[in-house]
C-alpha cells in the first residue's frame, strides 16, 4: 500500500519537477522571465536551476518502481536533496536580503519591508519543497 501510494505520488511530483526544470531551461535560454500566480521563473542561475530540477525530476521518475527498495529509495532521496539545495539557498538568500536596510535606509530593514521580502512570487523549487518532504517519511519508515 505504502509502495503504491509512493509510486503514484512521486510519479506526479516527478513529472512536475521535470516539467518545471524544462520550463526553466527554456526560459533561461531565451533570457525572458515568466510569472504565473505565486510562481516566478526568472533570476540568476536560471539555467543551472533548470538543469538541476530536470535531473531531479528524472531521478524521481526512475525511483517510482518498487520505491521502498533501498536502491530505488536512494534515487528518490538524491532527487529531494537536489531540490532542497536549490530551495535551501533561495530561503537563505531571501533571509539575508530581508535584514539589511538597503543603500539609503538604516542599518536594519523596516518591519514592513522585512515582511514583504517573504511574500510571493517564489521560484519553482521553493513551491515544490513541501511536496518533496514526503521523502522523509519513506526514509523514516525504512529505518524502522
Amino acid at each position: 500500500m505504502r509502495n503504491k501510494f509512493g509510486s503514484v505520488y512521486f510519479s506526479i511530483l516527478g513529472l512536475f519537477v521535470l516539467g518545471l526544470g524544462i520550463a526553466e531551461l527554456i526560459i533561461g535560454v531565451t533570457g525572458k522571465s515568466f510569472t504565473w500566480g505565486i510562481m516566478e521563473i526568472s533570476g540568476e542561475f536560471l539555467l543551472w536551476r533548470g538543469l538541476i530540477l530536470f535531473f531531479a525530476g528524472l531521478f524521481y521518475l526512475s525511483s517510482i518502481r518498487n520505491l521502498t527498495e533501498i536502491h530505488q529509495l536512494a534515487k528518490n532521496v538524491i532527487a529531494s536533496i537536489m531540490l532542497w539545495i536549490i530551495a535551501g539557498v533561495q530561503i537563505f538568500t531571501i533571509v539575508t536580503e530581508s535584514i539589511p536596510g538597503g543603500e539609503e535606509g538604516g542599518w536594519i530593514n523596516s518591519w514592513g519591508d522585512f515582511l514583504s521580502s517573504y511574500l510571493p512570487p517564489y521560484i519553482p523549487a521553493l513551491i515544490l519543497l513541501p511536496f518533496s518532504l514526503v521523502t522523509l517519511y519513506y526514509v523514516y519508515a525504512t529505518k524502522k
Binding site: 538543469l51 535531473f55 536580503e97
Partner: protein, 404 residues
Amino acid sequence: MLKVEERWDLIDRIAKKTVKFGKYRHTLKDAVAELTVKPLTGIPVAIAVLYGFWAFFRAFAGFFTDGFLVKLFDAHWLPWLQEIFPASKDSWLYYIFVGDPLTDNCFEAFGMLTSGLFVAIGVVLPAITAFYLMLILLEDSGYLPRLAVLIDTVLHKIGLHGYAIVPSILSLGCNVPACTACRILETKKQRFIMMTVLAIFIPCGAQLGIMLKVIPDTVGWVLLYLLIGYFILGFILNKIVPGKSPEFILDIPPYQKPMLANVGRKLWMRTSSFFTTAIPFVLLGVIIVNVLYLTGVIGWLATGLSPLLSGWFGVPKETVGPLIAAFLRKDLAVAQLSAIKMTKYQMITSVVLVSIYFPCVATFVMLLKVEGGKGFLGSLAALVVTVFLYGGLLHLIWILLGVA
C-alpha cells in the same frame, strides 16, 4: 611483556567482545553514497552541490559586504578619517593613507586605511569565510572524496588524477595552502602540472569576492575562460613535461554529519590565517602602488608598456598600476581595475590578465619552496608564455566578434 601467543589470545578476546559477525546489510546511506560516485547520477548531484556552494557564497558575502560593511566604511569610517587625518589633503601622506580627498566611497579612495582596509575586511573577509565554511562542510560530510572519484577521468586528460580536486578547490580559497596540498600528488610531474595550473588559472577566494563586487555580470565569463585555460594548459603540460602520471586508489569514508565543534575550529584556523598572511600584503600593496604613482613610475611604465597592453592585449594602458598591485594582492588589483574606464570586454580581459599574470607574492614563495629552483623556473616560463598567448587570444576573440 606478552609472548606472541599471548598477544594473539588477547586480540581474539578483544575481537570477540567488540566485533559483530554476520551478513552486512546494505543501508540507505550506502546506496546514496554509491549513487554520488556513479557518473550518471553523481554528475547531476555535483552540479547541484556546486550550485549550492556558489549561491551560498554570494548570499553570505553579499549580506555582510553590501548589507552592512559598505555602509560602515562609506558612511562612517571614510568621512571620519577624512576629517581627523592630521596631514593636509594635498600632502603625499594623505594620498598614501587616505587617498583621493574628493571621493565619497572607500572603494575608489585607494588609500591604505580606506581601500586597503575595506578590501581586506569589508569585501574579502566575508567571502573567504563563506568559502571555507562550505569547503569544510563538504570535507567533513565526506562528499569531497566522492567528487575526487567523479572527476578522476577528466583530470587524467591533463596528467592528474581525482585527488587533484583537493588542491584545485583549496586554491579557490587561497593558493598558498593549495600549493602545500599538491604534496599529496605522487610524482614530480603531477606536482609541477598542478602547481602551475593552479597558480595561473585558479582565482583565490579573495579575488572571487572582489570580482563579485566589481564585475557581478561578467564574473561567469571570466571563470569560464579561466576554466578553459586550466584544461588547455594542463593538457599541453601533460604532453611536454616528462614523467609519469600513475593511477590512484582512494579510500572513501562513509557520509557523516559534520561536527559543529570541528567545523568551528577549522573555520577559525583558516580565516585567522587570512588576517596574518593576507591583510599585511593588502596594506603594503596599497602603499607601494601609491608610492609608485606619486613618484611617476606607474606613468612611465604605462607609457613604456602601452604597445603591449593596448596593442596586444587590447586593454587601457592605465591597467599597468593594477598589474603591479596584482603581484602583492590580486583582490586589490581587481578593485583598482574597477576605477579605470573601459568597455565590458576590456574589463573581462583585464580581470583574466590579473588572474593569470604572476601569482601573488605569497604563492610565489610557496612555489619556490615546494617545487625547488628548477621547477619554479619551469612554472615561471609556462606562466609568461600563457599570459602572452592567452591574453592575446582573448583580444583576438573580441576583434573577431567585432566588440574590440
